[in-house]
């Protein structure tokens, strides 16, 4: 999707970095630390946060009240990151996250957004016909569930705390985290217990 960097833009970046370093605004160490945390960010972090929230009511309360603190409690560096809001699915409400203006995404806990999240089609359709979008991806929501589309337009970043699926009683945190997919963390899919376990909401 992105074209290779042109030599003139690489040169411009090098001049900018030299100017910032020359004025003491950034250091090589800070740049390396930021590069490392960006590289380390992945949806596995968000999945671990969800699994822990399913098992630990205290952590669940922290996650819903202060997403940034909940991420830091998992060892994620949130310095300089935007506030993280967490949207709690219930048996009566499903959340779907979109950024209709650009591609705002909770990168600190989910990593890079998938290409579809940045596509014009998703950004236009998610806000207008979320049920059709979800159905095309294999999630047909029952009429008893309201859909709340969260358009991420400004200074927060949003992730979804989905419902814990039925058929996962007694599962460990690791096992639960493994069924929380990247797409489920923005509401584009639902966590599924494998092997024909009853589909739907069990609650935590």
């Amino acid at each position: 999707m992105s074209a290779p960097a042109r030599p003139d833009s690489v040169a411009a970046l090098e001049r900018l970095l030299a100017a910032l370093k020359g004025r003491g605004i950034v250091t090589d160490e800070e740049l390396a630390a930021r590069q490392a945390s960006t590289d380390a960010a992945s949806p596995e972090t968000g999945a671990r946060m969800v699994a822990r929230a399913w098992l630990d009511p205290e952590y669940r309360a922290l996650l819903l009240g202060d997403g940034k603190a909940a991420a830091e409690a998992m060892g994620v560096s949130m310095a300089g990151a935007p506030p993280l809001g967490v949207l709690e699915d219930t048996p009566a409400r499903h959340h779907l996250v979109v950024c209709t203006l650009c591609s705002c995404y909770p990168r600190a806990v989910l990593g890079y957004p998938p290409h579809w999240y940045k596509s014009f089609a998703y950004r236009a359709r998610a806000v207008r016909e979320p049920r059709a979008v979800l159905a095309e991806w294999g999630t047909a929501l029952p009429d008893s569930v309201d859909v709340r589309v969260v358009d991420s337009t400004a200074d927060y970043r949003w992730m979804v705390l989905p419902l814990r699926p039925a058929g996962t009683d007694g599962w460990s945190e690791d096992r639960l985290a493994a069924i929380v997919t990247r797409d489920a963390l923005v509401g584009a899919a639902l966590p599924q217990a494998p092997q024909g376990a009853a589909r739907g909401a069990a609650g935590a």
Binding site: P83, G85, T100, L101, V127, R128, E129, P130, R131, D143, D146, V147, R148, V149, V150, D151, S152, T153, A154, D155, Y156
Partner: protein, 125 residues
Amino acid sequence: MTPPAEGTSAAAADPPGQPAPAAPRFPPGARVRVRDDWPERRGPCHIRTPHYLRGRVGAVERALGRFPNPEDLAFARPAPERTLYHVLFPQPPLFAEGRPGDDVLVEIFEHWLEPADTATTEQAA
């Protein structure tokens, strides 16, 4: 791309020299209308209010805090902090389709909102 000089922003909404109030103007539940304003037609600007909500009525869910105004930040101007709200809009009226009960929750800055129902606002204030 040449940014406009200070004070020539197409998006400038407030009279100069009038600081934005620090306390949230709208309580949770207040009915608000998104300003039916199109600064992009007047010149260069950077705004975080989606087209599909201009002129639409919603309800304040809650205030999310205060953040530097992105309309100034984008042009490297001094950016006063503004209150940001989560505002909830019923989905079907936005696009004249959809399922009743579905809705859209959006971050909107205070200077883009006006009271939609005077009685409600006064009662809540």
